[in-house]
């Protein structure tokens, strides 16, 4: 069963085609690598898969659901209720003075008890009168159009995909620099199981339970990437290689089914990349599928179940490490035509 299915994905920026008709598949528990020369469109493809950029065409199916959400029932309800709200609001604001005069001023005698039922009836009769409906309709149309526009723009979003079980790291490390190491992991845990406003603001009993559980989970993850002794240090103070491991821990904290790693070995020395290979294998053992972008051939060749090669946005080869290594088009892309012969 495949976790991720990418069907003829295209990304165009103006005239530039960064990713052209790329299809790929990741099965449960697999480690798949995407390689290719610089500028081959690997990171762009990654961003389209994780929902950071909406793809120009093609589709991404994650865990059986389409990454670009269609118009479902909840969306329709949200749009219609926004439209109703906007209509009602425009009606109220544009007629505020009239309503106030008819409903409040007409019935209130200074310091006398106020006839509430009469006032409410009066209000109802105004709202349903013929004077009110043009305002309601124009507000309804504006609100509906606005809500539709907002829905249209947010059809793909990284947060929805993350909830569904997709996690990623970034090529240029994007940790929360002002937070401590453990807080970085906690953010990802909170997104799943954090306390709400009331629990947190008033310190309700349920808050402490959630906090304890989150801290425990975060410590386990730091332990997993061997960063537990830096838990309370600021993330920005960690050395580069550790920051990469912290990003992986943070991504794992979202309980992913698929982890996308964007050049995790960049800037690492041989010993560190050796450790990284072990780490990725341990992640795979936890049942998490891994999609990896990497330049470091040693890492790619030693752990990948399958390798996809991109060049100028096109997929030029796919297969096992040995197959890819022997493919003349791959050699051509990396070393030039002469070497391929």
């Amino acid at each position: 069963m495949s976790v991720l299915l990418v069907n003829s994905l295209c990304m165009r920026f103006g005239g530039l085609v960064a990713v052209n008709n790329v299809s790929l598949k990741v099965d449960t528990g697999q480690i798949v690598s995407v390689i290719g020369p610089n500028g081959a469109g690997k990171t762009t493809a990654f961003n389209a898969i994780t929902g950071v950029y909406p793809p120009s065409s093609g589709e991404v199916i994650f865990n059986g659901i389409n990454a670009r959400r269609g118009l479902d029932g909840a969306n329709v309800i949200a749009i219609v209720s926004t439209a109703l709200l906007a209509g009602f609001l425009l009606l109220l604001i544009c007629n505020a003075q009239t309503i106030w005069e008819q409903v409040i001023n007409a019935h209130y005698v200074y310091l006398e008890p106020f006839p509430w039922t009469k006032a409410v009836r009066e209000f109802g009769s105004f709202v349903f009168s013929s004077a009110a409906w043009p305002y309601f309709v124009s507000g309804f149309l504006l609100g509906g159009a606005g809500a539709t526009a907002i829905w249209f723009r947010s059809r793909t979003s990284p947060f929805i995909l993350c909830k569904a079980g997709m996690a990623r790291t970034f090529q240029n490390i994007r940790l929360f620099q002002e937070m401590s190491v453990i807080e970085n992991v906690l953010v990802a845990i909170d997104a799943r199981a954090g306390a709400n406003l009331f629990e947190a603001g008033l310190r309700l009993p349920s808050f402490f339970g959630k906090r304890r559980a989150a801290l425990k989970a975060a410590r386990e993850l730091l332990d997993f990437v061997q960063l537990e002794k830096f838990a309370n240090q600021p993330a920005s103070a960690l050395p580069y290689g550790y920051q990469r491991r912290l990003e992986i821990a943070r991504a794992l904290a979202t309980h992913p089914k698929l982890l996308l790693l964007d050049e995790p070995a960049a800037g690492m020395n041989p010993a560190e990349s050796e450790e990284l290979i072990t780490l990725i294998e341990r992640i795979s053992e936890r049942g998490v599928a891994v999609l990896l972008i990497e330049h470091h051939m040693k890492v790619v060749m030693s752990i990948s179940d399958r390798i996809v090669v991109l060049d100028y946005g096109n997929k030029i080869a796919e297969g096992s490490a040995a197959e890819v290594r022997a493919n003349p088009r791959v050699i051509e892309a990396y070393l030039g035509k002469e070497a391929a012969r």
Partner: protein, 319 residues
């Protein structure tokens, strides 16, 4: 006046005010484009420019009745000295308040700009207390000042109901060439190109040998000069200035810059003209007291449908 004439008249007023707003909006958008600062002090700089213009009018002893070469030279000098003055003030502001904060958080720079805006307003108040006859003899510093009508109110369209006066013509003759020159400068000169380079990536521009600080200084000066020009046109067009006018003007101009897409020069021009038109038409057809509500409602509506303004570039996060 029949309905069509009313409409045409309001369109003329709206366009002229809009072009003045556009000129000021350019100052916001230039500075925002290069250092991502909402320059809160810009509207108040325009106010200072207007006070400078009034002082010069007193100095050259100009009034509505003056004519002859001396008056022309005096009038022309307004359009040179005031922009130079505003450019200088803006340069100084950048030098003293913003440049030391290049690496500070964005909001700190914003607070600095707010501080400068307070300082400018206060200086405007003091300036209004000058013991000159045009300033009310220094007795009512805070009172609005009359700016003499140096440009005639003669209707260029003959005896019709619709008015297009020398004042309106002046607005067109000053603002359009200024916008054209600015566009040319940004697009084709070396300094303009350097400016766009710094706006896109200051570090890379610096590595390519561009003196980013100098480019930013010059941007501030150009923005200030445009504001100065706008202040003279504003004073001649509206004939009254007061020390708190910077807030209102600045708000309109900033809204215009955002409406058009902040950072975009044609956007600022379009936004300014739209704001001018919306103001004039709301004044006429709804009620003056609802004009502000109208302007901002339209702004919010526009940015719901086009989140980066009418002509702003779509910004993609670099991942």
């Amino acid at each position: 006046m029949n309905d069509t004439e009313v409409l045409v008249q309001q369109l003329i007023t709206g366009l002229c005010n809009g072009m003045i707003i556009a000129l000021i909006a350019l100052g916001y958008t230039l500075v925002y484009g290069i250092i991502e600062l909402i320059n809160f002090a810009h509207g108040d700089l325009v106010m200072l420019g207007a006070f400078m213009a009034l002082t010069l009018v007193a100095f050259f002893d100009l009034n509505g009745a003056s004519s002859g070469p001396a008056a022309w030279v005096g009038l022309a000098s307004l359009f040179v000295i005031v922009p130079a003055f505003c450019a200088g003030v803006n340069w100084l502001a950048d030098r003293l308040a913003y440049r030391p904060l290049r690496s500070a958080p964005k909001l700190s720079v914003l607070v600095s700009a707010i501080g400068l805006s307070f300082i400018f307003v206060n200086l405007g108040l003091f300036w209004g207390g000058l013991p000159l006859e045009l300033f009310g003899g220094g007795n009512a510093a805070a009172a609005p000042k009359d700016f003499p009508g140096l440009i005639g109110n003669t209707n260029l369209l003959g005896a019709g109901n619709v008015q297009f006066t020398y004042k309106d013509l002046l607005v067109v003759l000053i603002t359009l060439p200024a916008m054209g020159l600015l566009t040319y400068w940004v697009k084709f000169t070396t300094m303009g190109k350097a400016m766009r380079a710094v706006a896109q990536n200051p570090t890379a521009a610096r590595l390519m040998g561009i003196n980013a600080d100098r480019v930013i200084s010059i941007t501030f000066m150009v923005g200030g000069a445009l504001g100065g020009l706008a202040s003279v046109v504003y004073a001649l067009y509206n004939n009254t200035i007061y020390f708190q006018m910077g807030y209102r003007i600045g708000m309109d101009a900033f809204t215009a810059a955002v409406l058009g897409g902040i950072g975009s020069l044609p956007g600022a021009m379009l936004g300014g003209i739209l704001i001018g038109l919306v103001r004039a038409l709301t004044d006429q057809y709804i009620a003056t007291m609802w004009t502000n509500v109208m302007v901002f409602s339209i702004l919010i509506l526009v940015i719901i449908f086009r989140p980066s303004g009418l002509m702003g570039a779509k910004v993609k996060d670099k991942v």
